[in-house]
Amino acid sequence: MKKYIYKKPEVLLDTSSGFCGGCGHGIVTKIIAELIDEMGLQENGIIVWPIGCSCSAHRIFRMDQMIALHGRAPAVATGLKRVEPGKFIIVYQGDGDLVSEGMAEIMHASIRGEKFSVVFLNNAIYGMTGGQVAPTTLIGQYAKTAPAGRSPVNTGYPIGMAETLSHIRGVIYSERVTVTSPARIAAAKKAIRKAFELQLEGKGLSFVEVLSPCPTNWGMSPVKSLEWIEDEMTKEYPLGVFKDTENEVPQ
């Protein structure tokens, strides 16, 4: 008897995503695809994509989908979810989109406690436009618009969104994960599953930040990129659950 040990999620189409080799978007979008299958979300689910590298993922999903304008996905999702509260809404955003152009939108969707899930991919750089400094770029990290490395004098300091949003009452769940190893990927999937389950309970905004490699714009090999996340990025952005209204997080 044939026994499947691995198969492609049914919600994914037989086409290329267009992501670079070693990019974390491929891993994170596949986690989402697996959860859509496992939780049966295709029937009722809608994905709202942002502008940035991630928006090319719409090509690989067999789902109803919208691509919002840069930074505005939480606002678009707000309108959508409010008129169709029975639908399952996944918002996917990168760091240029969520932290820079769309800071107001994510903050206020959180303040209002909108009942959708946000998966936030943080790779500490602008990917699609080719490697400019992001609000999440580490101090000293090279970027095309910070050629001597990010300096606090010019561009200030990195911001931890998982921590920031955890202070907002409308946010019911906030966790930071990464995808640097099979164990980390399994933990990331568990976090996103939890965020999705909480949306089904309809209590508020659930948020998962994923530290993700961008070998192309970091100028590193895919393997070195994973090491850099573990060695450098997690110092600025520690992994963990920052808010879980069901289970109080020890401070």
């Binding site: 295709q42 919208m66 304008l69 309108g79």
Partner: protein
């Protein structure tokens, strides 16, 4: 038609929108539009049977994007703002046009530029007809001159938006917004099932073809294909939806061209001119886009007096339409308060003198 009431413009507008089946209102407070938001907020609380959602957005940027989300699910949605908020919404309008999302946007104009002032103006003519968003897009613009007409056009706006899957703008102003007038409220209209609207976001399951709202394009072929498609739709709108009213233009020597609440002052001036034996007529565009070119047919050789509460913006469309700038005169003020009919009459007399 529904009952006859004495009602403020903004409130009558909001009530008409509710009766047209508007289910989502998102807006940011700005004078002189705020009563519209307040009316929806009250309706959400006091009339639960209507199933209205009201959201006070953090910015107009968000308000416009929120209604884009609601429109994507096939619902009737709207926002109301004034010029300094309308400009923030224009990125979303370009997006809604490209993504074929139907929504209604009310711009209650006030004087500018900048922060300007709070009363009546027509300074947003360029903004509502040309738009400040990027790319080649068009939106139908309806410009009522009475509270009654505003109520009717408000309902029409939702129908047109869903007919063409395109945003529709209703251009009101500080006068119409605050004016209390006797009005026969329109009745409730039939609302199409949201999930059956073309390309509605609803969840596709394993068998239905997925719906997608995507405004990005890849390569020259896709840029051409998308734009040619949209342009053919805009041409169809231009051919079918231009509206206007002509008053005594047939025998007129001088034809005034004016729009919105300011037309009421111009009509008074026209009547007084007629009493003096000056053959004055008047064209009132009801759609600012498409601009009603038909209104000017058969009027070659007449003098045109364009009357506006701005530096002269619609006058461009008049000159383009008649392809002659020599016979076009401008009477303008910059808004806040309305000029008196006698001021316009003085201008009409001057043109009449030159014809002798």
């Amino acid at each position: 038609m529904g009952e006859k009431v004495f009602m403020q413009g903004n409130m009558a507008l909001a009530e008409s929108a509710i009766r047209a089946g508007c289910k989502l209102f998102c807006g940011y407070p700005i004078t002189p539009s705020s009563e519209v938001a307040e009316y929806f907020a009250r309706a959400m609380v006091e009339r639960p049977e209507e199933g209205i959602t009201f959201i006070q957005a953090e910015t107009e940027v968000s308000a416009f994007n929120m209604i884009a989300g609601g429109a994507a699910a096939g619902h009737r949605v709207m926002t109301a703002t004034s010029g300094p908020g309308f400009d923030l919404g224009q990125e979303a309008m370009s997006y809604m046009c490209a993504g074929e999302l139907a929504g209604v946007i009310v711009d209650i104009m006030r004087p500018g530029p900048g922060d300007g002032e709070l009363m009546a103006s027509q300074g947003d003519y360029y903004q509502v007809t040309r738009g400040g968003g990027h790319g080649d897009y068009r939106t139908i613009v309806l410009a009522p001159y009475t509270v009654q007409e505003m109520c009717e056009l408000m309902q029409e706006a939702f129908v047109l938006a869903q007919k063409y899957n395109n945003p529709v703008v209703l251009a009101s102003d500080g006068n119409l917004a605050k004016l209390m007038e006797s009005v026969e409220l329109p009745g409730y209209t039939e609302v199409p099932v949201p999930s059956e609207q073309r390309n509605a976001m609803r969840g596709c399951g394993k068998t239905r073809e997925p719906h997608k709202v995507r405004t990005g394009m890849n390569g020259e072929a896709e840029v051409n294909e998308r734009n040619l498609y949209l342009q053919s739709k805009f041409r169809r709108i231009a051919e079918n939806e231009a509206r206007f009213e002509n008053y005594m233009t047939d025998d007129a020597d001088i034809v005034m061209v004016c729009w919105g609440s300011f037309s009421r002052v111009c009509m008074e001036a026209m009547e007084r001119a007629r009493e003096e034996g000056i053959r004055a007529g008047l064209i009132r565009p009801i759609t600012l886009w498409p601009f009603p070119e038909k209104a000017f047919e058969g009027l070659d050789g007449k003098k045109f007096l364009v009357c506006e509460l701005n530096a002269g913006q619609m006058i461009d469309d008049v000159k383009l339409t008649i392809e002659n700038k020599h016979d076009v005169y401008l009477f303008n003020r910059y808004g806040s308060s309305l000029p008196r009919p006698k001021e316009i009459l003085a201008e009409i007399r001057k043109i009449a003198e030159s014809l002798r």
